[in-house]
């Protein structure tokens, strides 16, 4: 059975090397400072006791005031799992560091986060839209993407380079 780290256990493991990075620990997850995310992820992957070599999923949620990015981490070597979260404040330019350098599997998922939610992943080598086309107005999965404006949509349908 995969052993899931509780929030407190995971926070203790992270605090050993990154004392000020943990913002809060929830029941199953830990929220860390977004600037520290990439360094923490390198540590989580390379530390031999933790060895979170497998990134199952990285996605984001729109909580209106802020965006929360969730990383579901697994260790194939030790068969344990943990959940890491980071907050991106505000709606105008939310960003988190990209973890593509740590796990290549984050590549397409971070592009999807940018495309559908507008959360930039700083350091991603190829942050292009993936589901929608370049030039599409807005980010569809956001909570304020509700009004379907026909004129804007018609303008966006004009052919662009692809």
């Amino acid at each position: 059975m995969t052993r899931s780290f509780t929030g407190d256990e995971f926070a203790a493991a992270i605090r050993r090397s990154f004392p000020g990075a943990v913002i809060q620990s929830e029941r199953d997850a830990v929220v860390v400072q977004r600037e520290a995310v990439r360094d923490i992820c390198f540590y989580l992957r390379d530390n031999p006791e933790l060895q979170f070599d497998f990134l199952s999923s990285v996605t984001a949620t729109d909580y209106v005031d802020y965006f929360e990015v969730v990383y579901h981490l697994f260790s194939i070597a030790h068969n344990h799992s943990a959940v890491l979260k980071a907050w991106a404040e505000g709606r105008t330019n939310p960003w988190v560091p990209s973890v593509v350098a740590v796990w290549k599997g984050a590549d397409l998922q971070e592009r999807e986060m940018w495309d559908l939610l507008g959360v930039r992943c700083e350091g991603h080598p190829n942050l292009k839209r993936i589901m929608m086309w370049e030039g599409y107005p807005g980010h569809p999965l956001r909570k304020d993407f509700l009004e379907f404006d026909h004129r804007t949509f018609q303008a966006a349908l004009q052919p662009t380079e692809s």
Partner: protein
């Protein structure tokens, strides 16, 4: 003297070998592939946004249509995530029925995957028709149980939608008795086939470390030598009560992935026989209101679908609809490894490698 220069060729989105609307932008030097880029989104229908307007029970039919070649496992993953979020119990009979449906679905899905893999290779429709003949028997069983052949909407939060009919047991037992002989025949004429070997061995090699780092899962990961199957590593639905093996490849080439899928078919037969024996009587679903409000919070439920780790990340705000409904689609993330597998090979190998990845565009694009 004519100097060739690399040129860009577009493969898809309408192409018989791309398993749906997958567009591949290839940079070719003659026939060698220098670069490949997958352009996605041709089947994007904003299912994740749509789910935010549905009640939790209404989210199940939409999940059918994501990985449309294995709807039972889609329903199962979603139901498990919702049950985790809302704390809904599931009776034992329902759990065993879920295991039976999920393994029958694995047989049907792998038959389709293998059949089309050989179709892409140029064996045209002979092996495809033999595999689809077995898949048809499974689809007939599903039609007997829930009335549908492709999108079942059968596994719901709390159990399954209806009980198994009385003719289920003899029909499935007969199917399980006949299937191994067909698989033996397919293996005999495909395993040592010189053309199959030359087109799949050492083609599309994915090394073990790269496979783990690229988050690939399912037969693609196991073909590269990593023994990671969620049914064994993080058992759900009583999978720890069954005795079965997890086939693992060695090199990570297309042949290993084909071999893993073929042997998984045999392991599914083993699991099915045990599940049918252990199936207890009792209720097939627990009392769940049609519209319910889970507590605010989030849950991640994952299962081993025929294509890999299918995960559902659900966030609830205490209302009747999910606040966020994210699907960790295995085919989508398996495409991360496509570039490393294809570069250096020839144009003809691209179709074989994409076929061995077994992508279903419904879950890639959602």
């Amino acid at each position: 003297m004519v100097q060739p220069s690399p040129f860009v060729v577009n493969m898809g989105p309408q192409h018989p070998s791309t398993h749906g609307v997958l567009r591949l932008r290839l940079v070719l030097d003659g026939e060698s592939v220098l670069d490949i880029e997958a352009v996605l989104g041709y089947l994007h229908s904003s299912k994740e946004k749509l789910q935010e307007t549905h009640t939790y029970l209404q989210t199940i039919p939409v999940t059918d249509r994501m990985d449309y070649l294995s709807s039972m496992t889609n329903n199962l993953g979603c139901a498990l995530a919702i049950e985790k979020l809302a704390g809904i119990p599931v009776p034992d009979r329902a759990t065993y029925i879920r295991v039976i449906m999920s393994e029958l679905q694995r047989i049907a899905s792998h038959c389709a995957a293998l059949g089309f893999f050989f179709n892409d290779m140029g064996a045209w429709h002979s092996p495809l028709m033999y595999f689809l003949q077995q898949r048809e028997k499974v689809l007939d069983i599903f039609e007997m149980v829930c009335g549908a052949r492709l999108t079942y909407n059968y596994i719901r939060p709390g159990g399954v939608s209806q009980d198994l009919p009385p003719e289920f047991y003899p029909v499935v037992t007969k199917f399980l008795d006949e299937l191994p002989r067909t698989l033996d025949e397919m293996e005999q004429y495909l395993w040592d086939n010189e053309i199959v070997r030359s087109r799949t061995v050492n083609i599309g090699v994915l090394p073990r470390e790269l496979a783990i780092n690229s988050s690939v899962t399912g037969p693609v990961l196991r073909g590269s030598g990593v023994k990671w199957d969620i049914r064994k590593a993080d058992p759900y639905c009583f999978f720890d009560r069954f005795d079965f093996n997890v086939p693992v490849g060695e090199k990570g080439d297309c042949f290993d992935r084909f071999m893993v899928r073929l042997y998984e078919l045999r392991e599914s037969i083993k699991i099915l026989r045990q599940a049918m024996e252990q199936l207890p009587p009792g209720p097939w679903r627990s009392e769940v209101p049609v519209i319910f409000r889970p507590q605010a919070g989030d849950a991640y439920g994952h299962i081993e679908s025929p294509r890999g780790e299918l995960g559902y990340y659900l966030v609830s705000d205490g209302s009747v609809s999910p606040w966020r409904f994210h699907v960790r689609a295995p085919s989508f993330i398996n495409l991360t490894a496509l570039r490393e597998m294809v570069i250096g090979h020839k144009l003809a190998d691209v179709a074989v490698i994409v076929g061995s990845l077994d992508v279903v565009m419904g879950e890639v694009d959602r």
